[in-house]
Symmetry: C2
């Protein structure tokens, strides 16, 4: 049978965060309040590990903990509507960011190859500062 309860430290290592972070997330209600043992040790269900990972991923993509909390909200119908709208909005954001990331990727790639040419041709050129603009005065 699968393990079904985890203490703080175990959640932390499994999800790849610090133990303090797990407690911090619980305080912020990003994780539901965990149950406790007789000795007051937290006990989390396995879903909490996934949840922490979800949070971390969303965070990587530029969502704040607050926004993430919005996405995790649970409740009646109007809550649902709110999550729905937020979701649509976030999806829209994400698409915008995907687009500009691709553009930026292009900029960096262009610079990279320019930089390579520079290094190849005049072996010790002035340099290749990454800046999508002229190089003289600022």
């Amino acid at each position: 049978m699968q393990q079904t309860e985890f203490r703080t430290g175990e959640v932390a290592t499994r999800a790849g965060v610090s133990i303090d972070t797990v407690r911090y997330y619980e305080r912020l209600k990003l994780l539901p309040r965990a149950g406790r043992t007789a000795g007051n040790f937290r006990l989390f269900g396995p879903d909490s590990i996934d949840r922490v990972q979800f949070i971390k991923q969303a965070q990587e993509l530029g969502f704040s903990l607050d926004e993430i909390k919005g996405l995790l909200a649970t409740g009646g119908a109007e809550e649902c509507r709110k999550v729905h709208d937020l979701l649509g909005e976030k999806l829209h954001d994400l698409d915008g960011r995907l687009k500009s990331m691709k553009k930026f990727r292009g900029v960096l790639a262009r610079h990279l190859s320019e930089c390579e040419r520079e290094l190849r041709e005049h072996k010790q050129a002035a340099c290749c500062p990454v800046l999508p603009i002229g190089k003289k005065r600022y």
Copy 2:
């Protein structure tokens, strides 16, 4: 003829940041030290505006000011090599992030449609918390 010098406030509004941010960036050497008028007002070249925008964009994509500074560095051949390497690394990061963003996009989109179905079908269902996992215990 084009305007060729800008004071702090103008750079700020054109680049869409606060005036404090412009000064802050100058302090951090993300912008080259601006020239001054007789009365000690900063004078920036037009490139500074582009530079601020570049910084903001990179930042949106998850680069820290410190990393960005690395990309802007200028200097001899080894500096160049360093920028080159950093650039390659960042490009690689970016690709990873693009991938996981797309995946996450999928997750959100799936939730969105699930949420919509929920709202459509049982008009006032329990709700649709965004969580890529089971809903019972944490």
